[in-house]
Amino acid sequence: MKGVIFTEFLDYIESQYGIPVSDQIITTSGIPEDRVYIASGTYPFGELQQLIGCTHAATGMPVPELLSNFGCHMFAALIRRFPSLADGWEDVYSLLLDVDRKIHVEVGKLFPEAELPLIKADAVDDDTIRLEYRSPRRLADFAEGMLRGCFQHFGEDFALSRRELDSQTGQHAEFILTRRSRGAS
């Protein structure tokens, strides 16, 4: 998994719970002491799971909620880091339809080793998108948070419903996004 997830996760914990909590999570996670994360590095997904587990233990925040909030944070962080990422799309609707066929293509070029989830978006009508998430890492919560971060970025109000399409929760889920109001931009 790309290091930017780790660095942003630790920054998020530190910003949400302070340095002592953050230090506690790192030191109790069982991750080797000499491990350092940099954004451009690539690290085992298991280490993220350890960090998430330790955060839940330290803060009492349910994991789905933690992942969702972190997803919302991550979207803003990605836009901050890669401003051009959102250039060219004027709203949630158009951006989501291009995630799989354009954005992930460009990410693949930038980070060839990245293991990206399958995101399939279909326009149901002018204001409704059906989005299908599929990943063995079962991060549908994180994806849901990313969607919310996207709504916030464009200032648009969407009703979001989620349906699991697999018995393994978070591995294969369907999101129905229905626009309630358009953003100012």
């Binding site: 340095i19 002592p20 230090d23 790192i26 350092v36 994360y37 940099i38 451009s40 590095g41």
Partner: protein, 647 residues
Amino acid sequence: MSSREAMYARKAERERRARLEAERVIDSKSLQIYEMNNHLMKVNESLDRRIRERTRELEQAHAQVLSAAAELAEANQRFELVLKASRASVWEVSPDGALVYSSPNIEQVLGFRPEDMVAQGSYLGLIHPDDRRRLRRTVIAALDTCQPFEVECRIRRIDGEYRWFRVSGYGDRNAEGKLQRMVGAMIDVDAQVHHAEVIQRMATVDYLTDIPNRCSFNKQLQRAIEDARKFGEPFVLMLIDLDNFKEVNDTLGHGAGDVVLKEVARRLTDNLKGYDYAARLGGDEFGVILRNVTDRRHVIAICNQLLYMLRKPVACNGSSVEVYASIGITEYDLSTEDAESMLMQADMAMYAAKRRHLREGGCEFYDESFGSDMLRRRHLEQAMKKGIADNEFCLHYQPQSCLATGELIGVEALLRWNNPLQGLMLPSAFIGAAEENGLIIPLGEWVIRKVCEDILHWRQQGLNVRVAVNLSPVQFNHGDIADYLRQQVIRHNIDPGLIELEITESVLVSNIDWTKSVLEILNENGFRISLDDFGSGYSSLTYLHQLPIDMIKIDRSFVEDLMNDEQSRIITRSIINLANSLGLEVLAEGVESWQQLNYLLQEGCHYAQGYLIARPMQSHQLADWITEHRSEYLARRKSGTQTLSLA
């Protein structure tokens, strides 16, 4: 250290290590970028090199394209110039025969615009109907054999006029041999075709008479021989030569001669059947091929009809001319070798006709004996030419005396030929041949020159001798004999009265007007004229009255029989009386006995010539003979004898 400080220390350490890791990653990435950059630079250089190579290739290709374009433009320009220079129009026809292209200059050639030509679809409509089949056949044959074709045909212009064009073309086929198109050119050859027709006509038709010429005749003769061989069709070849044509030219001019030739041609063609053939072979010679005749009587009848028609007077230059012709005839038979031998046979027959029917026209069939006769004549002709060149000819002189006084009145020049093989030959052996082959002219002129020289020689010896010179009818009718004689007497400073010209009656009958005019000129110039062999020929009294004749010579045949033939005596007496009545001098030839001489003297004949008086002698012997003859004559005169002495 407190736990708080330891926490921050750990955080600082984590961040320091993260920074170091980031720096390491950055260094690693920088190195990767550097290497990538190097690689890219190499790739770039490679690309640059390839671009330069490709650019060079493109530039070369571009230059080649430009060059090819320039060459194409040059070729196009050259093509246009060639079209202009050759006046050729280029065309293209599709495999189904539709005209798909015509070069712009077609408008100058035919008057049609190229697009109108193409719009017509087919060019066949413009081809002359008589030429279409030939054109089509030629094109199909060329296509079948994959060869180019060339054909001449008439093509209609926009104004309706047909002109001759030479059309050439070639069928363009693809690799599979399928006809793609036919391309070619056409050029106006109208003038050439018409010139060729004129040339063809000139080559086959006689320009003057508008009947076929010798070339056509030879072909027709060849065809007649082939037909005779293949189909057994008999035919007869006739060569016709006008006997007196030269006189017409000489007396009335060549314009009159042309009129006569045209009229002869017209009469010949008018009197022949459709399948017979007449041509002018040159000069005054005509050829006729009579088809399907086998009976000689029929051939003779046709010849007589032609001779009769030709003899009818032709009016030219205000005069009336009768044409006499000699016709040589040869019949085709299986032994005939070729056209040339037939022509030779007819030629020999024609000359035989000339000899047999001298100056009166007639026909003669070829006989095998003519061949040897002709050969003999050819040999004789060659020997005569050599004899003239080698000075083998000489003159003997036979004295002529006055019967009453015995005085020498003159001599007759007699031609002799010292032939190296046959010895001394008399005129009867070669004069006829000389008249036929024309050598009589140089020979006759030599005689005149020699006579002048001998007169001059005798004068230097104190002798004034008159010489009688025989003129052949051919010589008389050739050129200006009077002018030649005048030139010679002037050149030798001789009195023309010392030359007496002996002509025979045959000269008189050929063309009396011409003869009269020549004799009058000779007479005016002081030459004497005598009529030789009188009584043996036509003996027209009219001539004697009209012509300026000084003396009549009685033919030796009458003198020879004088003593034993009453008829000869009657004739001789009549001639002498006639001459005396007309005031003409009269001389008897061939006097060989005293009885003859006394009879002639008794009848009033003036002069005599013969062996009784003197045999012919050489010029240097004459002086001695005269001296001897004169002394005897003076002795006779002194003794009162009036009879002639013997030499």
